[in-house]
């Protein structure tokens, strides 16, 4: 470990970490919105599950480097290219966890809700969505940690946050840069995971009282 290098490169490390964070948050945020829309369509019509989950599944199987290479001719070496790929990879995990969350409510609760005269929108907002929270949170955690890792790969098209740092480290045989990149990435993943876990706890107060 070359501590001098670290000391003189703090601003660069911080910048790379912030980039990494932003790339991750945009990917998970947009991915969540799209997945939520998918899940809503499926909530209203079960038959949509096959096609939508199938689409997300196919995207998920494309190797990340191949997907980036495929996108560059259309969207260039840009944040957009990186985000399209990153968002794509969150869809399968998030869609499945949201749909799974909606399905997770015990049948007697749906029946009580219907019997008391909930229309579908009210039932979604007041009953099914809150009850889906634990599974949605779990999905978000997996998607976020996965995305933190995947952001690295986008270094090949000039993005990548901490991935950039590591890539340069490899190129210039600067092992300290590689280690710092790796450690910061892991730290970022853990911090984000914990943050979502904490948010999830706040959003589901009923699961804590026994």
């Amino acid at each position: 470990m070359n501590w001098d290098w670290i000391r003189s490169n703090v601003p660069a490390i911080v910048d790379a970490t912030i980039d990494h964070l932003i790339l991750t948050l945009i990917a998970v945020g947009v991915g969540f919105l799209i997945s939520f829309a998918f899940a809503l369509v499926i909530y209203r019509d079960r038959r949509a599950f096959g096609p939508l989950a199938g689409f997300a599944g196919i995207v998920y199987t494309i190797p990340s480097l191949a997907l980036l290479a495929f996108l560059v001719p259309f969207t260039g070496l840009s944040v957009l290219t990186a985000e399209i790929a990153l968002v794509g990879y969150t869809l399968l995990i998030l869609t499945r966890s949201i749909v799974g969350g909606f399905d997770a409510g015990p049948p007697d609760i749906s029946e009580a809700a219907n019997g008391m005269g909930y229309a579908w929108r009210g039932r979604l907002l007041r009953v099914d969505l809150p009850l889906a929270m634990p599974l949605i949170i779990a999905g978000l955690r997996v998607a976020t940690v996965t995305t933190v890792g995947l952001v690295m790969v986008t270094a090949v098209i000039g993005e990548g946050g901490l991935g950039q740092l590591m890539l340069r480290g490899f190129n210039f045989r600067n092992t300290t840069a590689v280690y710092v990149g790796a450690i910061m990435t892991v730290a970022l993943a853990i911090v984000l995971d914990m943050a979502i876990l904490a948010l999830g706890r706040l959003a589901t107060p009923w699961t804590r009282q026994r």
Partner: protein, 415 residues
């Protein structure tokens, strides 16, 4: 109570049939040409073995299940013509698993329908507290808890409170006390009956337990597999005159004993007994007491509550009564106690008579083992006289008007 709509509505099944595709999986029981009328303010219990269509019938009232044919009229209006959401909000619904929302506090759960109806927050909260009190849960202690923090019995109570929130004229209850142990169930049943005396809702109540049906029902609809109504009558009549072998078997062999749980001691012609209060002049009372065949005098306090017995022979010839003369030995029976409860209390206490008291604890009269035995004997007389005619309700739809008219009136003291 908020809102003006009728406190109770008439519910009328008119040739209601629900068929399911043959081979379809996990379908509820079918219903075959069900016709019956539940008068406003009465509890009608649908009872029968599993798969007899009792739950299906219930769910057709709030249209969780739509009938294949036939109509359900609520106060004469076809339920199918009403907006389904509005209809459901006007019908209380209690299910066996309770179905409380685990993510909402007890108060939020209870306020569900009032919130859906757009009541103000204050009014919702006030109503929730009122209802929790009504079902015997201290609002201060319970309103902010979550369902997972409650016992099974407490959850059932919250379920009932939630169903009552918007003061619906109709309540549907699907095995509402099925998920709790027998002791809690008994208590919930009693509390609910007491509640119903004040509320006077129209209640459709599903159970597979004939004892519960007999206890809870003003009217009992016995259904048999295939969704066929086997008999629809007051519980006394079901017990005294089962309409078919099926009903007789379903009711069980101990019909005479079961009838005891139908009559409340308050409905008997209680024996009036001579009474006196401490301080009363003994000589004045002595003559009336000695003229009475009972042989004992009951000493009561100023409020009318029984203190104890004084044997006729122990009544002083002069002077006044005092409390230490009286021997307390008879159990006190609430006038709402059933004959079954009374009999078991008397047998336990090994005495011949119990003192029946009203809610304020005032003595109303005396019930004896002999009087209870008499009621059982009366019942026995009714059964053999009854021609067993299962043909009339064999395959086809049961015409209730007729079957009911053919039965002799049974037992004057009903609930």
């Amino acid at each position: 109570m908020p809102d003006q709509p009728p406190r109770a509505s008439t519910v009328e099944f008119e040739h209601v049939t629900k068929r399911y595709d043959v081979g379809a999986k996990d379908t509820p029981g079918a219903v075959n040409d069900l016709s019956l009328t539940v008068p406003a303010g009465k509890i009608c219990v649908l009872v029968g073995p599993s798969g007899c269509g009792k739950t299906t019938s219930l769910k057709m009232v709030n249209r969780l299940i739509e009938p294949t044919s036939g109509r359900i009229l609520i106060d004469g209006q076809d339920a199918a013509q009403r907006d389904v959401i509005e209809l459901r909000r006007s019908i209380g619904y209690v299910i066996q698993q309770v179905g409380l929302f685990p993510h909402q506090t007890i108060a939020e759960n209870v306020a569900t329908v009032t919130r859906l109806l757009g009541w103000s927050k204050d009014r919702q909260r006030q109503r929730a507290d009122e209802l929790l009190g009504l079902v015997g849960l201290d609002p201060k202690q319970y309103r902010n808890r979550y369902p997972s923090q409650l016992s099974g019995g407490e959850r059932q109570r919250v379920g009932v409170a939630r169903a009552l929130a918007a003061d619906p004229p109709i309540m549907l209850m699907d095995e509402p006390f099925g998920a709790v142990d027998p002791i809690v169930r008994e208590r919930l049943q009693n509390e609910f009956l007491r509640l119903q005396e004040e509320l006077a809702k129209t209640i459709l109540f599903v159970t597979h337990d004939i004892d519960e049906a007999i206890k809870m029902g003003d009217l009992v609809a016995v259904m048999q597999t295939g969704g066929i109504l086997a008999q629809f009558a007051p519980p006394e009549e079901i017990l005294a005159a089962p309409a078919s072998d099926f009903v007789a078997r379903f009711v069980g062999a101990d019909r005479g004993l079961k009838r005891l749980s139908l009559t409340r001691v308050g409905n008997l012609d209680l024996m009036e007994i001579p009474t006196a209060r401490p301080g009363d002049d003994a000589s004045a009372v002595r003559r009336t007491a000695l003229a009475h065949p009972w042989g004992y005098l009951l000493l009561i306090d100023d409020a009318g509550a029984p203190i104890g017995w004084i044997r006729d022979a122990d009544i002083p010839e002069e002077g006044s009564f005092s409390e230490d003369m009286a021997v307390p030995m008879s159990p006190l029976l609430n006038r709402r106690a059933t004959l079954k409860d009374a009999l078991s209390l008397l047998l336990d206490a090994d005495v011949q008579a119990g003192i029946v008291v009203d809610r304020g604890g005032r003595a109303l009269g005396v019930v004896t083992v002999e009087m209870i035995a008499e009621v059982m004997r009366q019942g026995d007389h009714v059964v053999p006289e009854e021609p067993q005619g299962p043909e009339e309700d064999g395959a086809g739809p049961v015409d209730l008007g007729e079957t009911q008219a053919e039965r002799p009136p049974v037992e004057a003291e009903t609930r």
